[in-house]
Amino acid sequence: MIKLRNIDKYIDKRLQRNFILKGVDLDINEGDFISIMGPSGAGKSTLLNIIGFLDDANEGEYFFFDDPVHSLNEKKKSEYHRSYIGFVFQAYHLIDELTVYENIEMPLLYRKVKGSQRKSMVADMLDRFNIVAKKDLFPSQLSGGQQQLVGVARALIGSPKLILADEPTGNLHSDQSREIMQVFQKLNKEDGVTVIQVTHSDEMASYGDRIINLQDGVITETNPYEE
């Protein structure tokens, strides 16, 4: 599903080139649940952003379902965002001015889903995450965990094939974190959704079935469990 070949990401500073990612090769298959780990500044989020088309690599090739991402235009990328990828952020990134219902509905608007269908899809999602009662509240009226649930619900409403989660539990305490991880695990096992998450926590990483360790922009170790 995802094939990264020799990906470089760097920032040029006067005489020096600072590499964030260097020579990254990575293959991810459909149905994987992958945790990216590593110290701060190792390039975890950058890797995730490149995978999610939010950022471009400076060098190297990236194939998404055999489509060369490095030569996709904005429109095509948006299309992928709408139909294949769901994002979950550490800071939730809900839109403050929209209610829970409207936040979840938003991706459907960009996909031009019809009104009646939208209604039922959002209702399903609210039901699934047990937040029906909160649908008319604004994000600021929810706890962090609830906000992240909404964030996950929003990511899932487009039935994505791939979920990218950047420290989804970074701001949550452990009970809430586990809840979110269980949701991811369930999606992965039951619906075959590919999940890639960045995390600092070994416990959270253990929900996945494969760990990628990043050190200074280089993958140092993959699949520690395979031994």
Partner: protein
């Protein structure tokens, strides 16, 4: 999708109340002023377009070496008709009320009237005034026929069913019994001349000045209706050919033809039929309206970009959810449309509420409603589009271009180039404000100057009584002596013309060597000097009962200016033979010091005064400042006793003189309003901007406070940035303001100097406004507990 944008826009407006208030207040004020001014401008541009044949109507006027006159002799129109075949119809207007009010009496009532015009019978074939009763072709044919306007008819008779009724008119020294032959709709506001009464010029058939064949004085407004196939150029060339062939070679005069629709805005003629507008005002006012709207739009742009860091994460989220840049641009435009629509809505309310006082302020009576006038609706629509476009473009393009990865990670670059833009916009706003403040101060000082300038005569406590008709002619002396006997009356004099109103223009000559000088001239009696407190600098006043006949000769008082034109000293002038208009041979007996008998826009012109009791139009009464009401009451009883055929209607001379500067006073009021609003809107913007910047620098302020900065340190730190911007705006705008206002002052022969103080005051006002606005936020920030701001990281 759109409902989503709309919702976000509305909720943003509700959530950020202060921000929205600033934007909406600025925009709605700007839009309402813009609307009002554009309505005014379109009204000004519509003058005389209601005439169906407006394209073919021209007015003839006369110029000579040093003046352009709106009036022509009566023979001009018939002669032109004879000379060229271009003319389909012609009409001459003569307005007796230009010289003095007339008395119109019905069976029961009498009215002093000021708007009576005589016209040739072709009047209604040229001009499209809507006749509602009577036959337009016949109405002005017979002598002593009279057409009324609808409201005049209702005033006189309470009805418009007045055909065949008669009224009596006392016009100058003659009484006429007019038969009413028609009623027209009231003259539209956008007509360059107006009338309440329209008499047939045939009534005046026997008047010596009205001749189709002989050259007499210029008293008539002459209009031509050209044939459809004729052109103005053709008319001009034929006229010039004729003049060249028939006039002496040293001819100094010529004829001009002005299309009727250009008259109102472009006339620069003397002796105009009514006060005219000016295209400069139209341009100036339009520019001001646009500037005010710009200040409001700049507020929007400034606040939107200042807030952009907050909106950025929303952009990031939307992009990661698959929003296209195009869709985001649309969304942000949507927000500016929503905000503009709200502002437009409020602006419409403001316009409806304040249109009458506003138009009153600039001396216009414009009937109009935004909601029903198709022009206004088109205007609203375009203002909405233009404003949303200009206000929305920069924020929309800036925000939609943010890269999601940066904003979501909080790496959003806070410096950016938008800081420069914001600064330039603030500078520009304060340039406009500076310009308007300087303008306001100068216009204020100048109007104050002309309203209070010593005119060289006393204008206070002088009552002006129109007093010319046949019956009064025999009672002049009794009336005056009775009035003088009343307590509180200090002096009284008869005059043919009064200061501030047109004096006749004549050519004068010093008889032995026939040296000619053109001069203003008028009649007055011996108490003129005493009543107006003029200063006699040589010779004597008029004697008690001077002669004024061709046989015995006239006596003259000249002003210094006229004496100077002849190259005499005041003393030399005494005893010189002198003649005005060629038929008033006489002797100079005195010279008076120059006084401003006309507008202060002009220098004092030559003036010759003589005695002729047949020419008196006004009685001027100087009363004592004590108890004027009682004096007026006793004057009224004398008047009603001696002149029961006339109502006792008077005016104060100082008020009449102030009316000369109506347009200056209107401009002054308007610019005061504009500059007040401009500063208000600009300061609103500053409040918004400073609160955002203070918020942004909260951490810096916290750290500084922890490190020992005092409240004053913080306030000056935060305020100095803005003061710098305002100072730059001031420095850039000052020379422009000086230049523009200096050229405005050139309209006046008597004017103030633009001193440094004007600019010092302007700087102080701008500075004061800025400090007040900005320090409000700064103080709040400086007083806040640093723990609060530091903890948030």
């Amino acid at each position: 999708m759109f409902s989503n944008y709309f919702k976000i826009a509305l909720r943003n407006i509700r959530k950020h109340k202060a921000y929205s208030f600033i934007n909406i207040a600025g925009l709605s004020l700007g839009i309402s002023l813009c609307l009002l001014i554009l309505i005014y401008v379109s009204h000004q541009l519509s003058y005389d377009s209601f005439h169906e044949k407006a394209d073919r109507i021209v007015r003839v006027s006369l110029h000579d070496e040093d003046s352009k006159n709106a009036v022509t002799p009566s023979m001009v129109a018939p002669t032109l008709d004879f000379v060229t075949s271009d003319i389909e119809k012609w009409v001459r207007l003569y307005e007796p009320t230009k010289y003095s009010p007339i008395i119109i009496s019905t069976e029961n009532e009498k009215f002093q009237e000021e708007s009576f015009i005589y016209a040739d019978s072709s009047f209604f074939e040229i001009f499209s005034f809507n006749m509602i009763v009577g036959n337009p072709e016949e109405a002005l044919k017979n002598p002593r026929s009279l057409v009324l306007t609808e409201s005049t008819s209702k005033k006189l008779f309470g009805t418009i069913d007045v055909l065949g009724k008669t009224v009596n008119g006392k016009i100058f020294n003659t009484d006429y019994d007019f038969e009413i032959t028609g009623v027209v709709k009231d003259v539209p506001q956008n007509s360059h001349f107006s009338f309440d009464y329209l008499g047939s010029l045939n009534t005046m058939k026997s008047w010596s000045q009205l001749s189709d064949t002989e050259l007499k004085s210029a008293n008539f407004y002459t209009y031509l209706l050209l044939k459809p196939e004729s052109t103005k150029e053709n008319l001009v060339s034929k006229t010039n050919e004729y003049l060249a062939a028939n006039m002496p070679e040293e001819r100094t005069f010529g004829l001009d033809f002005t299309p009727v629709r250009d008259l109102f805005l472009y006339s620069d003629f003397e002796y105009e039929i009514a006060p005219m507008g000016s295209i400069q005002n139209v341009y100036g006012f339009s520019l001001l309206a646009v500037l005010i709207l710009l200040i409001g739009i700049f507020n929007y742009i400034n606040l939107a970009t200042a807030r952009s860091s907050k909106r950025a994460s929303e952009v990031g989220i939307r992009k990661s959810l698959g929003a296209l840049k195009k869709q985001l641009i649309l969304q942000f435009y949507g927000e500016s449309v929503v905000l503009t629509l709200i502002s437009v809505f409020i602006a419409v309310l403001l316009v409806e509420l304040f249109k009458d006082p506003f138009f009153g302020l600039i001396g216009q009576k414009i009937q109009f409603s935004v909601l029903t006038d198709p022009f206004a609706i088109v205007l609203l629509f375009s203002i909405t589009l233009i404003t949303s476009f200009f206000a929305g473009s920069y924020p929309a393009l800036l925000l939609s271009s943010y890269e999601p990865v940066q904003v979501l990670k909080g790496l959003f670059n806070k410096k950016g180039s938008d800081g420069t833009l914001r600064k330039s916009l603030v500078i520009f706003q304060f340039m406009i404000s500076t310009f308007l403040i300087v303008g306001t101060i100068i216009i204020y000082l100048q109007t104050d100057f002309i309203l209070n300038k010593n005119l060289g005569f006393n204008k206070e406590e002088i009552i002006v009584l129109p007093a010319r008709d046949r019956e009064l002619a025999t009672k002049q002396d009794i009336l005056k002596s009775e009035i003088l006997r009343q307590s509180g009356v200090q002096a009284a004099t008869y005059m043919s013309n009064i200061p501030g109103k047109t004096f006749g223009g004549y050519s004068s000559e010093h008889t032995p060597n026939s040296e000619r000088v053109s001069t203003n001239a008028g009649a007055a009696d011996k108490d003129l000097i005493k009543t107006l407190k003029l200063e006699l600098i040589a010779g004597n006043n008029f004697p008690q009962n001077p002669s004024y006949s061709k046989e015995q000769g006239y006596v003259y008082l000249l002003n210094e200016k006229l004496v100077g034109e002849y190259g005499w000293t005041p003393e030399e002038a005494i005893g010189k033979r002198f003649n005005v208009l060629g038929n008033r041979e006489g002797e100079v007996i005195g010279v008076v010091k120059d006084f401003n008998f006309a507008s202060l826009r002009e220098q004092v012109e030559p003036l010759a005064l003589f005695v002729n009791s047949e020419m008196y139009n006004y009685l001027l009464v100087k009363i004592s400042p004590e108890n004027p009401q009682q004096t007026l009451a006793s004057l009224k009883s004398v008047w009603d006793d001696i002149a029961p055929h006339r109502p006792f209607e008077y005016q104060f001379m100082d008020q009449q003189l102030d009316a000369l500067y109506k347009s200056e006073i209107q401009t002054r009021n308007l610019i005061l309003l504009f500059s007040g609003l401009a500063i208000f809107i600009a300061c609103l913007g500053l409040v918004g901007l400073s609160s955002f910047l203070v918020e942004k620098r909260a951490k810096e302020i916290g750290i500084r406070k922890v490190l020992g900065a005092s409240v004053t340190n913080i306030i000056s730190l935060l305020s100095s940035d803005f003061i710098k911007l305002v100072a730059v705006g001031f420095i850039v705008a000052s020379p422009i303001a000086w230049f523009v206002m200096d050229s405005w002052l050139q309209n006046f022969a008597f004017r103030i100097d633009i001193g440094l103080t004007v600019f010092i005051y302007t700087a102080l006002i701008a500075l004061f406004a800025t400090i007040i606005t900005v320090s409000w936020q700064s103080i709040k920030a400086a007083l806040s507990n640093p723990v609060e701001s530091l903890k948030s990281e």
